[in-house]
């Protein structure tokens, strides 16, 4: 394989990996504040893409994206308020099944609304054939959009959690829910906020990636599994490690085409997930000592 092709694969891997990382961060935000793995996380990405495409029929791309993100955030809030908030001490099993049920419901609703068609937003700049040449290598400008927007999103999240009062409240809830309540912080509102936030970043990811990967009513599921794999790989709850893990998985997948038929691409990710769960459930970057005290 030529170095150029190698680079091409690498870029593709990084692009997908970035998206996986964003989905993983969505998982982490909800997991940190609630201890719930939201099995409907992938559906937020799908909804973002779908709503974005639909709105784009009427308004320019940036407005469509903003609308899609806001609408998906609203869905996130509704989901939390209608299905999670009022449950009293639900068991883990119950929460798992509820979020699975939600993901099916959203998917089927999307099928009803948009049909089985494959959609995409237009390329943010240029077209499908436009490319930037770096030496002999050609990259779609959309790749840069994906990387750029993701970087901005991660920076914004960091700022939010580290510097703002609301972000600190969420972190406080994540470290110790009861203590946060004793400080007067409404844990329930923080949970809603975590759903809103992770719906929002999921939707944004869904919009920026749609020109490359397209979006369909059932494209959330596979993204959710990849995102979860990345979240586990980085250590559940650890968003910075999720980025590294995302890039790792994306690149691995991209190069897996060498050794396996493309149909088995998803199998790679899931095998990694299972392997990590078996040998090191605290994740590649997690602290095994601290993890031993946790309940897997």
């Amino acid at each position: 394989m030529s170095p150029d092709l190698l680079f091409q694969y690498l870029v593709a891997g990084i692009t997908y990996g970035t998206i996986y990382a964003i989905v993983a961060i969505g998982f982490n935000i909800i997991y940190n504040t609630t201890g719930i793995i939201n099995f409907a996380q992938g559906e937020f990405v799908m909804l973002g893409g779908m709503i974005g495409v639909t709105l784009h029929a009427f308004v320019p791309v940036p407005v469509a994206i903003a609308g899609a993100v806001l609408a998906t955030m609203l869905v996130g809030a509704l989901i939390e308020m209608l299905f999670i908030r009022w449950l009293r001490r639900p068991s883990v099993l119950r929460l798992i099944i509820i979020t699975i049920g939600l993901s099916i419901a959203i998917r089927e609703l999307a099928l009803l609304l948009w049909g089985e068609g494959v959609r995409a937003l237009p390329y943010f700049t240029g077209t499908a054939v436009t490319s930037l040449a770096i030496g002999d290598v050609h990259i779609s400008p959309q790749v840069l959009w994906v990387l750029g927007i993701s970087a901005v999103m991660v920076a914004a999240l960091n700022f939010f959690f580290a510097r703002t009062l609301l972000g600190r409240q969420m972190r406080a809830c994540a470290c110790n829910r009861e203590a946060a309540q004793l400080c007067g912080i409404s844990a329930k509102n923080m949970v809603t906020l975590s759903f809103v936030l992770s719906a929002g970043i999921g939707a944004l990811a869904g919009c920026v990636i749609s020109p490359i990967t397209y979006v369909q009513y059932d494209s959330g599921t596979s993204l959710a599994i990849k995102g979860f794999t990345v979240a586990i790989l980085g250590g559940l709850g650890n968003s910075m490690a999720a980025i590294a893990a995302g890039l790792l998985l994306g690149t691995l997948e991209s190069f897996s085409i060498w050794v396996m038929p493309a149909a088995y691409k998803d199998v790679i990710a899931i095998s990694i997930l299972l392997f990590i769960l078996f040998v090191r459930p605290s994740g590649l970057f997690g602290n095994a000592e601290a993890a031993r005290l946790k309940d897997y």
């Binding site: 719930i36 793995i37 299905f83 449950l87 639900p90 068991s91 883990v92 099993l93 119950r94 798992i96 099944i97 509820i98 699975i100 049920g101 939600l102 993901s103 099916i104 419901a105 998917r107 089927e108 599921t221 599994i225 979860f228 586990i232 038929p261 149909a263 088995y264 998803d266 199998v267 899931i270 095998s271 997930l273 299972l274 769960l277 078996f278 459930p281 309940d295 897997y296």
Partner: protein
């Protein structure tokens, strides 16, 4: 006491006969076909009920085991071994193979269904053992995701492998002759026999599983569900019991898969899909989790309706919504244990005295 426990089995047997007579009287024998299929799905469901409801271990990958059973048996009874080497002649000498003609008159050498069935069960048990051993160390979300991952791998593999027909699946799977002219097949001439065969299997499974629930092993399993550390401290090898239960439920799923595949004469990747696994979980939940009879009743009802096409194109949506509604409003299931207990004859189902 033992007689009391056998009463529901007798009631079920009578119900099976009554349904046959009723369908014959109503002139709707096709109902029996769907009921036969629902019976095979019920094998998956009762096994999963024991794993989830009694032992407390979630599995989102049981459609995978069903498919492994069905696909293995289907593949072995259709894959043409003609022209193989020394090993093959050896195999041939054991009588495991059967020669025939394909559609175009070519020579066909395939495995005998009963051998294929046994191999399918063995393969499933082996895989369940290998997967279960590490997976069952996990709990909660981790266990759910790991089993979901396993199910997805099976689905992607059967979907992506041309050996098993990729998206089309395997078709033209031969009948599975058992004894005295009885064969597992969808031919309408054997419809009634197959109906009784399927439900005979379900009855047998129910008899074995109700015995299990009320035994030392059943108590240990329920103890694991309630307080795993305490069960371990009482001398229960929790890892081993969970694994055995996992393997047992996988074997039941595979059994259902093998028989249904031969009954239908084919199998497709949708049998391995995650939605199928979720559907099984939904039915167990509706039945009341730790309620074998509730799961059986709901399993037959919902699968029957689904197979009759009552849910139209909303099939998946129906099961998703059922799951959601049950977990939100009635996490103990629709058929509550208390309700079942109050029914005459079904009382004391949940393990009072042996």
């Amino acid at each position: 006491m033992a007689r009391r426990r056998n009463l529901p089995i007798v009631v079920l047997a009578l119900a099976v006969i009554a349904v046959h007579l009723a369908s014959a009287a109503a002139g709707k024998p096709q109902y029996l076909t769907q009921l036969t299929m629902a019976g095979y799905y019920s094998l998956v469901i009762v096994g999963l009920t024991l794993l989830m409801g009694y032992t407390g271990q979630i599995s989102l990958g049981h459609a995978g085991f069903f498919a492994i059973g069905g696909y293995t048996s289907g593949l072995l009874t259709t894959y043409n071994l003609q022209g193989g080497g020394a090993f093959l002649s050896l195999l041939r000498a054991t009588g495991l193979l059967i020669a025939g003609k394909d559609l175009y008159g070519g020579d066909l050498l395939v495995m005998r269904p009963w051998a294929a069935c046994l191999i399918a069960l063995a393969v499933t048990v082996g895989i369940a053992y290998l997967v279960g051993k590490p997976v069952l160390k996990l709990r909660g979300h981790y266990l759910a995701m790991a089993t979901l991952g396993f199910g997805t791998i099976v689905y992607k593999v059967v979907l992506g492998s041309s050996l098993v027909g990729a998206a089309d699946g395997i078709s033209d799977i031969p009948a599975f002759p058992l004894f005295a002219g009885l064969a597992v097949t969808g031919k309408s001439a054997l419809r009634v026999q197959n109906y009784y065969l399927a439900w005979g299997l379900v009855l047998g499974a129910m008899a074995l599983l109700t015995n299990l629930i009320h035994s030392r092993v059943g108590r240990a399993l329920r103890a694991i569900h309630g307080a795993e550390d305490a069960a371990n401290a009482m001398g229960v090898d929790t890892a081993r019991y969970k694994l055995h239960m996992f393997v047992l439920s996988a074997a039941l799923a595979a059994l259902g898969g093998v028989f249904l595949t031969h009954y239908n004469g084919g199998i497709g990747p949708s049998e391995a899909s995650i939605m199928k696994s979720v559907r099984y979980v939904a039915i167990v939940a509706v039945g009341g989790m730790a309620n074998l009879w509730g799961a059986l009743i709901m399993g037959v009802l919902l699968n029957f309706l689904s197979l009759r096409g009552s849910f139209g194109s909303y099939d998946d949506a129906v099961f998703g919504l059922i799951l959601l509604a049950i977990m939100l409003f009635a996490p103990d299931g629709l058929l509550r244990v208390e309700m079942v207990r109050r029914l005459p004859g079904l009382g004391r189902l949940r393990g009072r005295a042996p």
